[in-house]
Amino acid sequence: MKTSRTLMTVFVGGALLAIPGRAEAADLAGFTLSADAAPVAVQIFEPTIPIPAEPQLELNLSYSRAKLSSGPTGRAVSSLMWPGDAVGYGLPELLQNPDATYPVKVDAAHPGGPADAKQEVAPGAAMTSHADGGSVEAAAHGAKHSSPALPLPGLPISPVLVALEGFSSHSKTAVGGDKATAVSYATAGSISLLGGLVKVDGLRAETEAVSDGARGTATGTVVWKSLTLVGQKVALNQDGVAGPTGVTKLPALPAELTTRLKDLGLSVDLPAVQRKVNGTAATVTGRGLTVTLDTGALLKRLGLASLLDPVLALLPADLRTQLVPWLNLSPRLVFVLGTATGQATASPAVAAEAPPPAAGPAGGGSQAGGGDAGAGVGGTGGEVPPESAPGEATTPVASNEWPVFPGVPWYAFVIGLAVAAAVSYGLRRYVALMFGGGGCDLGVPNGVPNLRER
């Protein structure tokens, strides 16, 4: 029995000793982290639209963003339909109504609060945000969506531009003792774009940017389970086609097809992950398939101007003047299927150096005198301790030693305290002497006697 106990002790002790200790990591002095993601982003570039932002309009479905920087200060926002900061936060200015707020969003902030917020629009469709001093997190999950349902005038495509199901995004920034991390991902089970012209199943874009104060690292992937493009189906990721025999480089679109699409104002950019590491800063952007539709080129190709000009000529001049700018709108629409970004930069903690020594008074003589340190009659703070080298005067700290109240006020203060303590202590004891009754006008002394002494 004793032997088995000894063996067990040796085993457990050895195991504990064998476990390597956690490496001591240097704390971070400063950091800036940012992560955002959305499975679908639609951006509209039209300078005529009076919104001071670029793009002028945007709509991110199932959007999440988390920012954290030293202080620490952090902000998280999640939205199932995020119109961009210009509208999402600038609605009061845009509408000239201070009470206007964009309703489909959930904010969390640190240190101002709220630390946690959640809004569930429908079962399975929820937005959550969290922010504290160590981590900021945002997530938006939606089960099914199709948008917009309104037909766009002049475009020969289905009214349903985007339809998706089972989509979500998640962004998180966190800082520990030794590193700062920004992680984000966007995923969607099924996405149908432009009325089914482009269909993607199993989208997932994810990024991670890390900085430990010494160097930054960035990783990211964009993966499709399958992609159906104009009826043709392939499975791919950002590096190419993934098949049973391995990953092969993604075939380029036929040049003739590309040219024809470009003539119609339509261009398709293949998925890509861009990583950038510069010292301690790391940035990674994963963008899925990007489809750009330049309606200016499309309208020009369709030759609508030749049809509209005769009609416009029939209108009154004032009305025509008001209508023409609107008819000349030619926005550029950009659809991004799966976008996730992460940025991280941090700087290591720096050991605080002692403040430079205070210069001694001119008349101190302790420094100018060379080897006669301490011989001077310097004022406060000018004296040099005996063990100090010449020129290394110490700076007195107010809380470093007992306060000094020299002179009569100091002694009056101390004596007053002593008298007050003595009076308070003896008041009850000597009250009988002073008032003749000992607190009891029957002449009974005060105090609690030991009743057991009988």
Partner: protein, 234 residues
């Protein structure tokens, strides 16, 4: 000889409600005094004043020949004034032995506490490992008394010793009280039911509406009790 507990013109109450209106009472050393009175007369309030739990708003509280107005309950308890409150206040989820062991925090040795308790109350020895909550009312009262005796009191204040107990058990408990007095402990017993208390008391007082209306020997008080409780019929 000065009484070990003396109240002179004591006035006390709860906030703006005055319960005791100039009470005079003296407990001789080594005596058992029964403080009788109807419900609501102020008997328990008087015990609280005597034990320092309530401060007298006027008058004098003298203990052991000293003026103790304003003395804290713990100071009086350390001096040897012990209170057994109404309702016994034992710990129902602890065993008898553990309840007694709590008394050792006052400094007594556990063996001494057990010895004293089990000598006085042999029934507690039989139930030493039983939960206090499962004891009968009389046994719980015995436990409360045993716990008080562990402090080696010089003055014992007992509130409603007989409440809820069978007459046989009450008689047994009062025999213990008489034994304590024989050992030199001064006992002030607050009671609504006079017979059992008067049987062992050396002195008795009747408190009605916050005033002591009679003081005297037990026989003397027993004869006048009905009139004192209900008011004299003239």
């Amino acid at each position: 000889m000065k009484p070990i507990l003396e109240l002179v013109g004591v006035t006390a109450g709860y906030g703006r409600i005055e319960v005791l209106h100039g009470v005079d009472l003296a407990l001789p050393r080594g005596a058992v005094m029964a403080l009788l009175g109807p419900n609501g007369a102020g008997k328990s309030t008087l015990l609280k004043v005597a034990s320092g739990q309530i401060r007298a708003t006027a008058g004098h509280v003298h203990v052991g020949g000293a003026h103790v107005n304003g003395a804290s309950p713990d100071a009086l308890a350390r001096a040897g004034l012990c209170t057994i409150p109404e309702g016994r206040s034992v710990f129902p989820n602890l065993t008898v032995r553990d309840n007694l062991r709590l008394s050792t925090y006052a400094g007594a040795r556990a063996a001494d506490v057990y010895g004293t308790a089990f000598d006085r109350f042999p029934r507690l020895a039989e139930r030493a490992n039983q939960l206090a909550g499962s004891l009968s009312g009389g046994e719980q009262q015995m436990l409360a008394m045993a716990r008080a005796l562990a402090t080696n009191p010089a003055v014992l204040l007992v509130d409603e010793l007989s409440m809820g107990l069978a007459p046989l058990v009450v008689r047994e408990l009062y025999e213990v009280v008489a034994g304590l007095a024989a050992d030199g402990v001064s006992v002030l017993v607050v009671e609504q039911f006079a017979d059992a208390a008067l049987a062992v008391a050396d002195r008795a007082a009747v408190l009605v509406h916050g005033r002591v209306v009679a003081t005297g020997g037990p026989d003397e008080i027993a004869d006048e009790l009905a009139n004192l409780y209900l008011g004299s019929v003239t």
